[in-house]
């Protein structure tokens, strides 16, 4: 009976350790670690997920997230990148895989970007995250995009003048 209880306890204790092996020997690095762009600018960075463990790392998911470093700026990560979740192929021991993330700056300000790797088994283990990428997005004012303002003002002005001329003529 005692042997059986010990076996069950050992199983309970060992189980998380065994499943956590999927991410515990994984490291994440990113390049570059600082990016500067302007509002609407498209940019990309890479994350390298390495397997430093004794066995092949399988069933890993890399997920991209972005947040504002200043309070008051609303960030919807879906707007920043259409493809924020990648299901990784198995990584052999000592090997690594590189993922390229393409993004677009939707707001101006200072933002933090990070990549988290977690097992697709859904085990309750902490995800492995890479260093935060600091993103500086400069404000950009587009008052005359492509030179459209003369058109936007000119056509209504011409029609308005015609309407006015007809009204004046009718009154006269």
């Amino acid at each position: 009976m005692r042997v059986a209880l010990l076996a069950v306890s050992a199983g309970v204790l060992l189980a998380p350790v065994a499943t956590a092996a999927g991410t515990e020997n994984v490291t994440v690095t990113v390049a570059p670690e600082r990016i500067a762009t302007e509002l609407g600018g498209k940019f990309a960075f890479t994350s390298t997920i390495s397997n430093t463990g004794p066995t092949k790392a399988r069933g890993l998911i890399a997920h991209l997230n972005v947040l504002s470093l200043q309070d008051g700026t609303y960030v919807d990560p879906e707007d920043w990148s259409a493809n924020r979740t990648r299901y990784l192929d198995p990584i052999a021991l000592g090997e690594s895989t590189t993922v390229t993330w393409r993004m677009q700056a939707v707001n101006d300000g200072d933002f933090g970007i990070y990549v988290a790797v977690l097992p697709e088994s859904g085990e309750p283990v902490p995800p492995v995250t890479g260093p935060t990428i600091r993103l500086d997005v400069a404000e950009r004012k587009t008052l005359n995009a492509g030179g459209i303002v003369p058109l936007v003002l000119g056509i209504p002005a011409a029609l308005g003048l015609m309407a006015l001329a007809i009204r004046i003529r009718r009154r006269g």
Partner: protein
Amino acid sequence: MTELAHPSELAQTSESPPGWLVVLSQELRDLWLGGRGLVLSFAFSVLVGIIAYLVATNTDLNFLEQRESTSLTLQVAIAVGGLLTLLVAADAVSGERERGTLETLLLTPVSRREIATGKLVAALSLWFAAFVITVPYVWFLGHGVGIVDEALVAGLAVGTLVAVFLASLGLIVSCFAASNRISLSLSLFVLLAFLAPTQLPAGAQQAWAGDLLLRVNPLTAGERYVSKIVVNGHGWTEDISWLLSPVIGALVFATAAVLVSGRYIRLRGGVSG
């Protein structure tokens, strides 16, 4: 207000122009030289200008593709151009009735159907004016990706079908409405109902019921066709099934408007009158 100053000129002789052409001529003069058409066109150009400015800004910031911005502007132009024709057509009979000029018009030697045809075509002139106003914006937004010709042809075809459909609808409502206010508000309500499916979530639009709703609605089907041509770069016949309801809607409602008006253009409005 249509005033045919010399009824004798309208006598149906072999030399005189058809009655509907005389009515059309008077209506166009009233609409455009009277200033109402230009004021509506001015309002249209302001609205389309604002839309074009916003989409150009978004394109400049890489938030919108050029094809999307061209399609969006064209679709707004079609919807608002259709609205203009609807407003003018909805005023055609009930407006004359309220201004007390319908009796004079009915006394002229022109049949009621010809009156309706003339008024219908005159209302459509607003759509053609709206289209001409839209051309520079479409050129500006689409010339970089070489889609101006396709966009303009698709816009003219779909917009004309939608305008015929809405103008006919407005004319029918105007024949039956007890007052001009009822005619205009009912027409606007119907237009909003036709535009409502565009607000459905993307998932609901892709389901079979949503897809069917978009296809049977001439406005949404027409706009979807324009989007397929301009945004997706599809060929003219690839999505031709989307044009089915705009074509049927335009033909059926235009015929109905002429037939209904032959019987129901009367001095008193209302369905029981």
